[in-house]
Amino acid sequence: MSQAGLTSAFWALGRGTGVVALVLLTVSVVLGIVARSGRRVPAVGRVGISDLHRTAALTGTGLVVAHLGSLLFDPYAQLRLVDLAVPFLAAYRPLWLGLGTLAVDVLAIVTVVSLLRHRVGPKTFRAVHWATYALWPMALLHALGSGTDAGTTWFRGLAVVCAGAVVAAIGWRLAPSYAGRGWTRQHRRPA
């Protein structure tokens, strides 16, 4: 393949993995809210929802890694290693790219703590998991701000669908009818 061809391939891979990762992370956020509610979903059950939430999250994370890798190797993208970890230093659209970098940082912490949750205990796991509510908007804004396809109709449509799903899920989460299983259960304080 020619140099130009290789560049295009990495670039395409970068875009593709980015888009799919965004979709999967959206699915993960929505399923996470469903799981937290303790509602039994027909056919898949609560177990199915937790498993899907986890699979979507891990697959999405894997795709984010691929997204980073392909853009790192694409000379056109001019991404340095430091841009993968430290936000807002990039040459191209530093703000929007930086949001992506920040999102990756948060994703890394959330992923590690989640995988080690049995060791860190429920309180730490929960506290760190809250960060996903910051993670997702950053990922979306990064996509809209620095994504190559951001201007296209299809991507805008996709972004609206994803945002709509998350907003609806959060709306449900905040409604009194949500009544999630009581993680906020207060133990009795001795007199």
Partner: protein, 399 residues
């Protein structure tokens, strides 16, 4: 040369806070090696006096060989409202309890020796006696469950006084992550005596399976309530008689987590085996006499409500089930003629048993089930709309 205490006046004739007088009365506290102490405990057959009645030798052995220096704790939380024995013991004979802690701490090279007092225990004598001795005395927050082993360890670790999952035993990891031995204050006092006078002396009282003496707190419809000492294996009648029971209808043996024994059965011996037939155990020696002028269902409803309010609300079955039992028992007490109530209470008591991080639901269930069993005729009367208690209509004991 000191004279060994007699058969049943072993614990309460203390010398108070005067250490010199204490040593004059009981003699010098011997220093035992770990192995000698374990042998003495095994030979004596001492069991815990805090309620569970577990063989003390086994408990001590569990921490005696821990890789890091262990922590020894004297439990004087006295969380059971009907119990006063640990408070009385600490008031009259604090040095004996401290002796027990020091003996263990020295034998096992403990990192810390702590005497934990509940908020209802007058700490004056304990603090005074502890001056110049190798024990830390602390007064802690209370609550019915606060004296539970893991709750106590949690509090000493700076956390709320609520139990933790018993999967990790405190003898493996407790205060500061170290192997922790928690013994009731009275158990420590008994230990302090038997290391001085020997296992043979200890066994001269009580029975073969359950030797020694123990303290009993007698309350309720009696002329002379208070704390007495009696040989293990005494009959319930013999222990109660000096307290002058007044028109008793039944005796609650074991406190709010205990079970009822009818007046007709007062000759039952206070041993594990004999009491098992009543679903009861000696526990921490609480004997509450119910008079014929108190509606037992009303009394029980009040206790059940207290027990429900003392749930630390960590565990689903307990936080949901105990209020249900209390409400249903209250309805029975108030004369609600719902014939399904007794079965419903029984069902709930079975449902909460064994499903929690501590024995609070189990004990509460035991008390409630025993009430329905022993007073079933009284319950039947309530369901027909009348109360056999001479005061008339069914009503709660606090109305």
């Amino acid at each position: 040369m000191t004279t060994a205490p007699t058969l049943t006046r072993r614990l309460l004739d203390g010398a108070g806070t005067d250490h010199g007088a204490h040593l004059a009365r009981y003699g010098v506290l011997p220093r035992l090696s770990r192995d000698d102490l374990l042998a003495a405990l095994t030979d004596s057959g001492l069991t815990g006096r805090g309620g569970a009645g577990f063989p003390t030798a086994i408990k001590v052995r569990a921490v005696a060989y821990a890789p890091r220096r262990p922590v020894v704790i004297g439990n004087a939380m006295e969380s059971e409202p009907l119990s006063a024995k640990d408070a009385v013991l600490l008031g009259r004979n604090p040095h004996l309890v401290l002796d027990g802690l020091e003996t263990l701490a020295r034998a096992m090279r403990a990192r810390r020796a702590i005497l934990a007092l509940g908020p209802e225990v007058d700490p004056g004598a304990a603090f005074a006696a502890a001056r110049g001795r190798e024990v830390e005395v602390v007064q802690l927050e209370g609550g019915f469950v606060a004296g539970q082993e893991t709750a106590l360890v949690n509090q000493l670790n700076g956390r709320p006084a609520i139990p933790r999952d018993p999967f990790t035993r405190v003898t493996e990891a407790g205060v500061g992550g170290r192997a922790t031995l928690v013994l009731n204050a009275e158990t420590l006092a008994q230990l302090a005596l038997l290391v001085r006078y020997g296992a043979g002396w200890f066994r001269a009282a009580g029975t073969t399976e359950d030797p020694g003496t123990s303290l009993f707190t007698i309350s309720g419809s009696v002329g002379r309530p208070g704390v007495v000492e009696a040989e293990r294996g005494s009959s319930l009648r013999d222990v109660l008689d000096p307290a002058q029971p007044l028109r008793p209808s039944a005796v609650l043996v074991g406190g709010y987590h205990g079970a009822w024994v009818r007046t007709s059965d007062l000759d039952v011996r206070l041993t594990r085996r004999d009491l098992a037939a009543y679903g009861a155990s000696v526990g921490a020696g609480v004997l509450h006499v119910l008079g014929t002028d108190t509606c037992p269902i009303g009394f029980a409803a009040g206790v059940a409500e207290y027990l429900a309010s003392e749930s630390t609300r960590q565990c689903g079955p307990c936080l949901n089930g105990l209020p249900r039992m209390a409400t249903d028992l209250a309805r029975l007490a108030a004369g609600v003629r719902d014939h399904g109530l007794p079965a419903e209470v029984q069902r709930m008591s079975a449902l909460v048993t064994g499903r929690g991080a501590c024995a609070h639901p189990d004990g509460s269930a035991r008390f409630v089930a025993s009430t329905l069993d022993v007073f079933r005729d009284h319950v039947a009367a309530h369901l027909e709309g009348w109360c056999p208690t001479p005061t008339g209509r069914p009503r709660r004991s606090d109305s």
